[in-house]
């Protein structure tokens, strides 16, 4: 066993740090740290910087312009980016559609779409969830009916993250209503500028607009936009879901969050002393830190055992549950740290203003607390993950 990074790993980490120091504007990092929404341009600009450095698609095969990094290298990169408060890489094209096209796309699709992802020509979003489906992804009603060399798509998708910026969506649609639930599903690429596509924002309780509903009314999609075979879409969807989970533990985000709590609690005073010296607060903080140390090691153990990019299912379920519990606990601790200054609704307008009032001191801590309740809901709720873990240990049990 060797718990320390190799010399090569450390060299790479220093490279990443140097790159971040040079390429990441501090004003942008501040926005990320405060949990403010980034503009489409800010994301696109960050992608372009990474692409220029050759680091936009670390997991992609080299033949498609990727880095084929091993897991530990990827982990170092993710963690350094998170600690530096870099914008996250928008995953829909790079981490989700990309791997599906690598494995199941036609050569024509690969040649056309993959370079466009790397160059930022398209902004992709994901059309999986439907109203009423919830955790039961197979329960989908959006229909695609073949009409000569087109599919006619009707239906509705929801929880489409950053769909407001997207010009393309990859969708699961039902192409055979007679078939059993998991069969009869196809994987379609849809241009969102096609007539009949409508995007409606969903405002969340923290005031953010990051998810959307997408409506399809008689939307005509050329048949060359079908990925793989008709009615085999569920296979591709499951493959994608596994890839969605590569950075599932969110160790870097958790570390960045914990560091922010410590900084804040060192400056905030309670009863005439720094809050961080309050025994109850210090105890809460230390327990989470100990949990996180262990979880980060669990993550590295699993990553270093995993071959290539595919994360093993049960282990990634464990990381999902524990990772979200820890991140939510950090958000909870941060709102506690802010005390009464957590109550003002820190609207983006107020944040951008120069007013030195309560909300500015505490930042958007309550918003982040509420927003991150999503962590245990999306990407397969923690209940679904517990089901997977228990089934693995107990055999056929429900």
């Amino acid at each position: 066993m060797e718990l320390n990074y190799s010399a090569e790993d450390i060299e790479f980490r220093d490279e990443v740090r140097a790159f971040l120091a040079e390429s990441l504007q501090s004003s942008l990092a501040d926005k990320v740290a405060l949990g403010l929404s980034l503009s489409k341009t800010e994301y696109e600009d960050w992608h372009a910087r990474l692409q220029a450095r050759g680091w936009l698609a670390p997991n992609w095969p080299k033949q498609f312009g990727g880095g084929e990094w091993e897991a530990v290298k990827r982990h170092i990169f993710d963690e350094e980016c998170a600690l530096a408060n870099a914008p996250r890489i928008v995953p829909f094209g790079l981490a989700m559609l990309g791997p599906v096209l690598h494995k199941f796309g036609s050569t024509a699709q690969q040649n056309y779409w993959l370079p466009r992802i790397l160059n930022g020509d398209d902004w992709w979003c994901q059309g999986y969830s439907e109203p009423g489906a919830g955790s039961d992804l197979v329960a989908l009603n959006t229909k695609a009916v073949r009409d000569a060399d087109h599919y006619i798509v009707n239906g509705q998708k929801t929880w489409t993250t950053l769909g407001q910026h997207a010009n393309m969506i990859f969708c699961l649609v039902r192409t055979d209503s007679e078939a059993k639930a998991q069969e009869g599903i196809s994987f379609l690429l849809i241009d969102m500028n096609t007539p009949g596509v409508e995007v409606r924002p969903i405002v969340l309780i923290d005031g953010s607009v990051e998810v959307n509903e997408i409506w399809f009314s008689d939307v005509r999609v050329p048949i060359e936009n079908l990925v793989g075979e008709e009615n085999k879409g569920w296979t591709y969807a499951k493959y994608l879901l596994t890839h969605e989970r590569t950075n599932i533990a969110g160790v870097g985000f958790a570390r960045a969050g914990l560091a922010a709590v410590k900084r804040f609690a060192s400056k905030e005073y309670s009863g005439g002393k720094p809050l961080i010296e309050n025994p109850l607060f210090a105890a809460r903080l230390a327990e989470i830190e100990i949990d996180l140390m262990a979880m980060a090691t669990t993550n590295l153990r699993i990553l270093s055992n995993a071959s290539g990019t595919q994360a093993p299912s049960v282990e990634s379920s464990m990381l999902k549950v524990k990772g979200t519990i820890i991140r939510q606990a950090i958000n909870d601790l941060m709102r506690r740290a802010a005390g009464p200054n957590a109550v003002p609704f820190a609207s983006e307008e107020l944040e951008h203003s120069q007013l030195q009032v309560g909300p500015i001191r505490a930042g958007r801590v309550s918003m982040q607390y509420f927003n991150n309740r999503k962590l245990s809901i999306y990407g397969g709720s923690n209940e679904i993950q517990r089901q997977i873990i228990a089934k693995d240990a107990l055999g056929g049990g429900r």
Binding site: G132, L355, F370
Partner: protein, 355 residues
């Protein structure tokens, strides 16, 4: 021993529940018209009630309905402070507060005071006020600010805190308004050489009165949070009965059902804590504060459970602004950040348990 409401209390509860059933977020004018604020004050102070249980009945119903009016801050706290501190000259003002004709805001907390009522940096020298007050609820609608200011002692001393009654348009006052998470508005208020007179000064040593008014606010806020939790849990039950997943209602998923059972148990615990705090509101300060801290600590812990679990059981819909659940969850969580949080009150409970 008797846990039954009196006939008057039951009537108050019924009236409120019916009235609030179809009110939106704001019920202020209805409440004022129906004379409900009188239930928050004793007969001596121009009211018709004023006991801890009167408070808990009113605010539990407001919480159930999801009202966001700042009644605790404007009516209850300011009214009680004026009732306990002001000379007879102010009884007319108190009457107008009870009638809902005038609105106040209690400008006490400061950016660095956190939950400590005794920590006041704003100071008044020869009635000239300087300092900044933060998160002053209802400043936007108030006609008068009730402002605390230090006239003697160090920043955290118990004595030497004065209270001034200040018209909002007095020269030297700057107000920056903002919204609050979960509803309502507050402001940061800067006092820059605001010149007042002896007449404006309600008290030169107000901390005991502030403590007492805060105890009433804690009973009210706990009851309001209890009401919000009742609505949240009943929405969750309803959702579990009707929402289908994998071809059957959520209610049939045992893992969720058992977690719901724990929520139901804890809501009964919260109800008991509110009853205890309400029943000791007029007891001696030690017993009053011990039970208030117990309730505020427990409601904070249970509130976190109820808010988080309700959202989790709802899934995505529970996080949308369009659906009511998330708003109740926000109010429940934000209640932990007012008048002292879980840790603050646990420490106070420990300190009070020693004596």
């Amino acid at each position: 021993m008797n846990f039954e409401l009196s006939d008057e209390q039951r009537m108050l509860q019924d009236t409120l529940r019916r009235m609030l059933d179809d009110s939106g977020d704001s019920a202020w004018s209805q409440l004022a018209e129906q004379g409900i604020f009188a239930a928050l004050f004793s007969e001596d102070n121009g009211g018709l009630g004023g006991s801890g249980f009167d408070l808990s009945i009113v605010f539990e119903e407001l919480g159930r309905a999801g009202t966001t009016d700042p009644i605790i801050e404007s009516v209850l706290v300011c009214g009680r402070l004026i009732a306990s501190l002001a000379a007879d000259s102010h009884s007319e003002l108190l009457g107008r507060i009870v009638a809902g004709d005038v609105q106040l805001a209690f400008a006490h907390s400061e950016t660095t005071s956190r939950y400590e009522l005794n920590r006041v940096e704003t100071h008044a020298d020869h009635h000239c006020l300087n300092g900044v007050k933060s998160v002053v609820v209802n400043a936007n609608a108030a006609h008068l600010f009730l402002v605390s200011a230090r006239i003697a002692g160090d920043v955290a001393d118990s004595s030497g805190i004065a209270l001034y009654l200040v018209p909002v348009n007095t020269p030297g006052i700057t107000v920056v308004n903002y919204e609050l998470t979960g509803g309502g508005q507050a402001a940061d208020i800067t006092f820059d050489n605001v010149q007042l007179t002896q007449n404006d000064c309600l008290s030169t040593d107000a901390l005991i009165a502030i403590d007492s008014a805060t105890a009433a606010a804690i009973v009210a806020l706990c009851a309001q949070t209890l009401g919000a939790m009742e609505t949240t849990v009943s929405m969750t039950c309803e959702y579990m009965r009707t929402r289908q997943q994998f071809g059957r209602p959520l209610a049939t998923f045992q893992a969720l059902a058992h977690r719901l059972a724990d929520m139901l148990i804890e809501v009964e615990q919260a109800r008991s804590a509110v009853i205890l705090a309400a029943g000791h509101l007029d007891a001696d300060a030690h017993s009053r504060d011990l039970h208030a801290s117990a309730a505020k600590n427990l409601l904070g812990r249970i509130g976190k459970l109820i808010a988080e679990e309700s959202i989790q059981m709802h899934g995505g819909i529970g996080m949308t602004d369009e659906y009511r659940l998330g708003h109740f969850a926000k109010r429940i969580i934000m209640a932990d950040h007012r008048y002292g949080d879980v840790d603050f009150h646990l420490e106070r409970f420990i300190a009070l348990s020693k004596t």
